[in-house]
Structure formats: C-alpha cells, structure tokens
Amino acid sequence: MIAALQGVTADYGKRALGPFDLALNSGETVALVGPSGCGKSTALRLLAGLEAPSGGGVVRKVDRGETALVFQSPTLAPWLSALDNVALPLRLSGQPAALAREAAATALDRVGLSGALHKSPAQLSGGMAMRASLARALVTNPRLLLLDEPFAALDEITRRQLADDMLGIAAELKPAVLFVTHNVEEAVYMASRVVVMTPGPGRVAGELAIEGPLPRPAGFRTTAAFRKSAEQVSEMLATGMAAA
C-alpha cells in the first residue's frame, strides 16, 4: 500500500465527503467513479496531501515530489513553451534549467509530443495540451499519479487514443494511479479495480475487480467481460443513487 484514505471526511460548510475509505497499492490503477458532486476530486486532493481531512486519517508513503496531478483542463502556463511547462515541476524542486529541460524533453517524447517542444500552449490542440499536461505530471517520475477526469474535455477519438497511451505509460513506469472519472466505461477500461461512490457526501457504494490484461488489447471494449463489468459498475452507481 502506497497511499490510503481511512474513514476520511471533508466539510466545506456542510459534509462533502465520507466517511470514505480507499487504499492504493503501488503499481495498480484504480478508477474512482461517482456522480457529479460526490467528492471524487476532494478525495483526490486529500490523497495528494493538498488538503487536510476534517476527520479520519490519510496515509501517504510518498514524498511531495513523488506525487503528480493531472486535471480536467491542461492548466498549462500560456507564457511558457511546452518544454518549459513540463520542466516546471523540476525547476520548482530546485533542479538546474538544463537538466530540467532534458528531462522535460524525454517526458514530452514519451507522450508523443517530441515535435512540439517549443510550441506555446495556444498552438497546441486540446489533445496535445492534455498530453503536455500528462508529461508535466510524469517528468518527476511520480510513484503516485492522480488523474482528475483528465479526458473529460476531449472528443471520443482523442480520448480513446490518450487512454491507450496512458495505459502503456502506466505499464512502463508502474506508478500507483488513481483515475477519477464519471464515465463508467472509461473506468472499466482504465483500471484493474473500480471503486464506486454514492452521491455527495460520497461513500463507497461498491468495488469491482476488472479482469483482463493492462494495457488493454485491441477490441477489449467489445468483449463480453468488458460489457459485463461496465453493467455491474452501472448497477452499483444506480443502487448508490437510489439509497441516497
């Protein structure tokens, strides 16, 4: 286990999350699914150590610099080139510019952006900007990678491409990945384990292990196992909604 939430609660005026439990093992990819406003993003911020819970405990066996975040929007600095955007985490950690840029170029290459190092964010398409954002998260070689609906703003084709690339990268670098999404099929496709949340304040509505190899083979979305898992997750969501 590399990071865990143990009976955590979060309150912003009123209860927004929990009590909620979640444990992440190193190298595994877990998807967190739930309706809008259930506290998915809050759970992710708690795991990142960016916020303290109002109750319960957060276990983090990683350092600050070993955690990385990707958001729904690329959140790139418009005044920096793709290369300097990706180098930013290393620069903030005190690395010299030349080394940081070298690592940034490698990270951009990994996400297929080696041709866009010196482009500005304004010159990147939505998918490319998201890839740069992913490269910024990977540049520190994180052991804990937290993704907050990273593909939500992309079109279907780009989203599928990025999902496969993401799985390939995860298989290679083996960080623990928490993938937050409200899309059931995406959750099943991306993760070896799906945790379903109830509507806010979110609790665990259910959990499902997903069979099949990661990264996914071609045509995985059309297999009976995939369809069955997706149906089960949908049912858990529906049950959670009905109970609330």
Binding site: P78, P121, R136
Partner: protein, 256 residues
C-alpha cells in the same frame, strides 16, 4: 486600402457639407469657422500648436509613468499582504470616484503658481492610477487555480509563486490597464490644465482657452484637431505595443 475607404469618404463628406453650410448660410466665422479656415489656422499656428501638443503629451507621459509605478507597486504590495489590500482598497476607490476637477485647485495651490505643470502631472497621474492598480490587482489573482495547485504540489516558495506564476499571469491585465490609463492620462492632463487656468504649462488646453477668450474659433478647432490627433496617436501606439507584447507573452507572435 479598402478598409480605410469608408471612414475617409465619411470624413470628406462631412467636411464638404460643413464648408458648404458655412458658405451658403453665411455663418459668422467666430460661431463656426469653415474647415478651410481651420486648415489655414492649422498651418499658420502649427509651431505653437505642436509645441503645446508636445507639452501636453509629455505631461501625460510623466503622469502615466508615475501612475504605473504607483499602481504596480501598490498592487504588488497588496498581493503580498492581504491586510494591506483590505486597507488600501477603499482609499483607491475613493480616489477614483472623486472627480479630478474637484481636487485640482488644491493641487494647484500645493504645486505653487510657478509650477502648474507639477499639479497637472499629479492630477493626470491620479486619473491614470486606478485602471493600472485595479488591472494589476486583478491580474495578480488571475492565475489558473489548477496551476496554483501545481505550485502547491511541488512546494513552491512565495517568491517562486510570485515570479513564476502570478507576475507572468498578470501580464495581459497589466497591458490592458496601461492602455486604458494612457487615454485617461491625456484627458486628465487636459482637464487639469483647464482647471489650473494658467498659461504657464503651455499645453493644448491652454491654447484652446486662450483662443476661446479671443474668439479665435478657427484656432480653437485647430487645437482640438491636434488634440484628437494626439489621442489617436497615443491610443494607436499603446494598442500596437499591447498586441506585440501579448503575442510575445503567448508565444504566438514573431517576437519569439
């Protein structure tokens, strides 16, 4: 070229209509001089008018510089200290909503009769201060919350957050503030010179007053035309600078 045709045609039509009306209706030249008389005045009074325009422009530019230093400096200090921000805000708003004309006599007294240009620069700076201050304040708070999170995550210091995130993020707001302030500085300089009511500053506003007192209406129009040209020139220059700097900032222009 095609873009400039409609405004040129409209201006030409207005001037011809004006000239024709003056001649056909026998309007007294001290009420409304024909454009031809204004053109003659523009030509003969050019040395005086251009010198006055330069005086007005230099007072406005000094005011812009002072307003920029004060506005950016205060915004930066407020960004670093929330308590200062709360303390300064009501005063800044009060300074903005108080008409410059009303405080002008006070400044004229303080500057002394020998140095009305100091009062004019100070008054124009007050007018130009607010857009710069509020632009800088808004800009320093405008960074993408996601990017702020990234800075949180990698343990950025306050200094790094300021220099690598908030200052660069505020650039478009600063440019916009300065563009608005440049126009206001000219207006402020003209209004302040009117109120100062003294010829010692030798600006365009004084030339308009002076010509008005002598019923030299053609010269008033000539001075107004120079003032309008000055405003257009400054606006164009600042706008061009803003566009270039923004393109450089966003890395999309030829400057990079």
């Amino acid at each position: 070229m095609k873009r400039h045709l409609p405004p040129t045609l409209l201006i030409a039509a207005l001037l011809i209509g004006w000239e024709a009306a003056c001649r056909l209706l026998h309007v007294a030249p001290y009420i409304l001089p024909p454009p031809s008389a204004v053109a003659v005045s523009l030509a003969t009074d050019a040395p005086i008018l251009l010198a006055a325009a330069w005086n007005t422009l230099s007072m406005a530019l000094w005011a812009l510089l002072l307003a920029s230093l004060a506005g950016c400096g205060l915004a930066l200090a407020s960004a670093l200290s929330p308590a200062l921000d709360r303390a300064v805000r009501p005063l800044a708003v009060a300074a903005q909503v108080t008409p410059v004309v009303a405080v002008a006599p006070l400044f004229v007294i303080w500057a002394g009769l020998d140095h009305p240009e100091r009062a004019i620069v100070a008054l124009a700076a007050i007018v130009a201060f607010f857009p710069i201050f509020s632009g800088a304040t808004a800009g320093l708070k405008s960074a993408d919350p996601g990017l702020e999170r990234v800075f949180d995550l990698y343990g950025a210091s306050r200094w790094e957050r300021l220099t690598r995130l908030r200052l660069p993020a505020s650039t478009p707001f600063l440019l916009e503030g300065h563009r608005v302030a440049a126009g206001l500085a000219v207006i402020g300089a003209v209004v302040a010179e009117f109120v100062a009511g003294s010829g010692a500053a030798q600006g365009l506003a004084w030339r308009i007053l002076e010509a008005g007192n002598r019923l030299q209406t053609d010269r008033m129009f000539a001075a107004l035309a120079v003032l309008a040209a000055l405003g257009l020139l400054l606006h164009g220059a600042v706008h061009a600078a803003e566009r270039r700097l923004l393109a450089w900032w966003a890395g999309t222009g030829p400057a990079r």
